[in-house]
């Protein structure tokens, strides 16, 4: 394993010392570039009460390129597809090296509060979200209950 960049050490230290409310990000025991992430579903969203697991990986050229993140818990969301991939601009062309693991995870939490069916990754979900929002929200709540809650 190549030496770990100071940037990653610094971010890891900060995440441990000042954790973000509602988000836990723990580096893997054997790979300092891999984080086990759990995001709690935001209040007043259809995902409230759910615990969503994600994985986050810092590529070789981080922070010059964005972390790679995906949901591991199934979720009914227009911007997240069946494989857990996330459609979020800051993970793509709007990445900036001044952004951090912390800001990325906050953005993902915000995406849960504010789904954007006009920029969909999961087409069928987005479709329903647009034509029948209350039905879509019901589905999202049901999926949260089934897949993201333990009891």
């Amino acid at each position: 394993m190549a030496a770990l960049p100071r940037r990653i050490i610094k971010e890891t230290q900060r995440l441990m010392q000042e954790p973000v409310p509602g988000i836990s990000a723990v580096p893997d025991d054997s790979n300092a570039r891999y984080f086990h992430v759990i995001v709690t579903g935001p209040e007043d969203s259809p995902f409230e009460g759910g615990l969503f697991k994600l994985e986050l990986f810092l590529p070789e050229d981080y922070p010059m390129s964005a972390p790679k993140v995906r949901f591991i818990t199934k979720i009914y969301h227009p911007n997240i597809d069946r494989l857990g991939r996330i459609c979020l601009d800051i993970l793509k062309d709007k990445w900036s090296p001044a952004l951090q693991i912390r800001t990325v995870l906050l953005s993902i939490q915000a995406l849960l509060s504010a789904p954007n069916p006009d920029d969909p990754l999961a087409n069928d979900v987005a479709e329903l979200w647009k034509v029948n929002e209350s039905e879509a929200i019901r589905n999202a709540k049901e999926w949260t209950r089934r897949y993201a809650m333990d009891n």
Partner: protein, 531 residues
């Protein structure tokens, strides 16, 4: 189809993350496109209850066809896409798992890799589906004992458990690793179990231990067992039975890295490195490859295509090293310069760029620049010796299997004439051992040649293959100064961007920027900041 550019075809794998990534090999990797919604042409509506015989057949078909895929551009096998569609609902997922457990034969060198590949690329299973699978398997100490009659089934179950452990979220993972399941896995470590089952039980335990609570549960159980069954397995480290030897390797690795026992010394403290002057380079390796404490043996249990280079370099003359093939699956072994990149998450390795050349004896292909040339000889077997001969005078590279030489290769020399390292890439569950000359060669070439071990030199501290958790702990304790560059934290922040005036960067980071990282404004000038 959609409006979001995320769906552009070449972008598809962008948000994948390595541990779940199926980049076992670039060409296999390239065959797997997410099925729907991005590949509607393959979308076939599948009835709710799939026909078990059909699914069995599709699994075997995928297994048969995957080893023949050699071209990056090749379409994914239809059988695989169908399986992904079938697995999209609960009954389908359960059937796919069932079929894999039933039909994947013990002897197929790609069996376990294909199971992980298929499962990894299925749509995410629901919590219920996974629990149903686990319930259906009904695992316990008794089932482990009964299962000794049918090692192929048990081996496949353990591979599936490893995948499930890696895919599922923390708290759910805890529930899945129930007491009876743990009994099952630990009973499988006993001496009466088929070594194939022992191996994948051990790997499943390793993957469950990725969540720290599971890890402490497993550790507690291991402490209660006296003697610890993994200690006995470590003694298989140098077995000539190659499945047992893999068990030995994995047992040693988990004892050093994961299940640390109080009464055991770390292997890196006890291994004798006196005669070793060249080894696999622990600072020049992709992150999931496991390297033995003596630095000469490597193994991949991740789903990515892991790579490594050796410590010593060949710049002129004639060189030779040998590799003992422990597992007969896909590895690309050969020569690479430092320009060759390890794109393990994208599935690119040695032989997949212009700066490296490799032989894969499973598919019988010589690889250069991600293109392959078929070779006319039998597939390699455990215990075979791959000879890697490099003549920088001619120049040429000649591979040999058990002394039988393949035709010489010259492609790579258009890009580089010096700076070559021994290098290799590993698909999941593959392992081999390097001999850089510290031991006598089995099939030395007739020409005069040099070896890395006679010409290499290593400082004592460079010969240490330290367990990663110790290494990372040391790293994390480093102090970082407050006036550091806010992007790299390596150098002092000393420049300001104009006209936006944002600062906090070092010159080398600033030189890589296209716009200001704070306000995204284009900048025209980078000026030294006066404190």
């Amino acid at each position: 189809m959609g409006v979001c550019w995320c769906k552009q075809k070449h972008e598809e794998h962008d948000t994948y993350v390595p541990q779940q990534h199926h980049s076992n090999n670039h060409n296999i990797n390239a065959t797997i496109q997410p099925v729907s919604p991005v590949a509607p042409q393959y979308y076939i509506r599948v009835a709710k209850a799939p026909d078990p015989h059909l699914v069995d057949k599709l699994v075997l078909e995928t297994l048969g066809v995957i080893a023949t895929l050699v071209d990056n551009e090749q379409e994914p096998p239809a059988s695989m896409l169908l399986l992904h569609n079938i697995a999209d609902n609960e009954e389908g997922f359960i059937q796919v798992v069932n079929s894999m457990i039933k039909v994947v034969p013990l002897s197929d060198p790609l069996g376990p890799s294909i199971i992980t590949l298929l499962l990894d690329d299925c749509p995410l299973p629901s919590k219920e589906s996974v629990f149903k699978v686990v319930d259906m398997l009904n695992l316990s100490k008794e089932s482990a004992i009964l299962g000794r009659q049918n090692p192929s089934r048990e081996r496949n179950i353990c591979v599936v458990l490893g995948c499930i452990a890696e895919t599922l979220a923390g708290p759910r993972n805890l529930k899945i690793l129930s007491d009876p399941m743990l009994d099952y896995l630990l009973t499988n470590l006993g001496p009466e179990t088929d070594p194939n089952v022992v191996l994948f039980s051990l790997i499943a335990l390793e993957k469950f231990a990725q969540s720290s609570q599971n890890k402490s549960t497993i550790l507690k159980r291991l402490h209660q067992l006296d003697p610890c069954p993994i200690n006995a397995l470590e003694k298989w480290r140098y077995e000539t039975h190659y499945i047992k030897r893999q068990v030995g390797f994995c047992a040693q690795w988990v004892l050093d890295n994961l299940f640390v026992m109080n009464n055991r010394k770390y292997s890196y403290l006890t291994v004798n490195m006196e005669k070793i002057n060249a080894m696999l380079n622990t600072s020049d390796v992709s992150e999931y490859l496991k390297i033995s404490p003596d630095g000469l043996e490597a193994r991949c249990d991740a789903y990515s295509f892991e790579s490594v280079r050796c410590t010593a370099q060949a710049d002129s003359g004639v060189w030779y090293y040998e590799v003992c093939i422990i597992t007969p699956g896909v590895m690309q072994i050969g020569w690479a310069t430092k320009h060759s990149n390890f794109l393990n998450h994208e599935g690119y390795g040695i032989g997949d760029d212009k700066y490296s050349l490799a032989y894969d004896g499973c598919r019988k292909l010589i690889w250069y620049n991600a293109k392959s040339e078929p070779q006319d000889l039998p597939a390699w077997q455990s215990g075979d010796i791959l000879g890697c001969f490099l003549d920088l005078n001619t120049p040429q590279i000649i591979f040999s299997i058990n002394g039988m030489r393949l035709p010489p290769c010259t492609h790579v020399f258009t890009m580089a004439q010096s700076g070559f390292f021994a290098a290799a890439s590993f698909m999941s569950f593959q392992q081999c051992r390097f001999n850089f000359g510290a031991e006598p060669f089995k099939y030395p070439p007739p020409e005069n040649f040099s070896t890395f071990n006679e010409h290499g030199s290593l400082r004592a501290e460079d010969k240490v293959v330290m367990p990663r958790h110790i290494f990372l702990d040391q790293l994390r304790q480093q102090n970082i100064k407050e006036d550091s560059c806010t992007l790299c934290y390596d150098q002092k922040a000393s420049v300001r961007l104009l006209p936006c005036k944002h600062s906090g960067f070092c010159p080398s980071c600033a030189s890589q920027l296209l716009e200001c990282p704070m306000c995204r404004a284009p900048f025209e000038l980078v000026v030294e900041e006066n404190p």
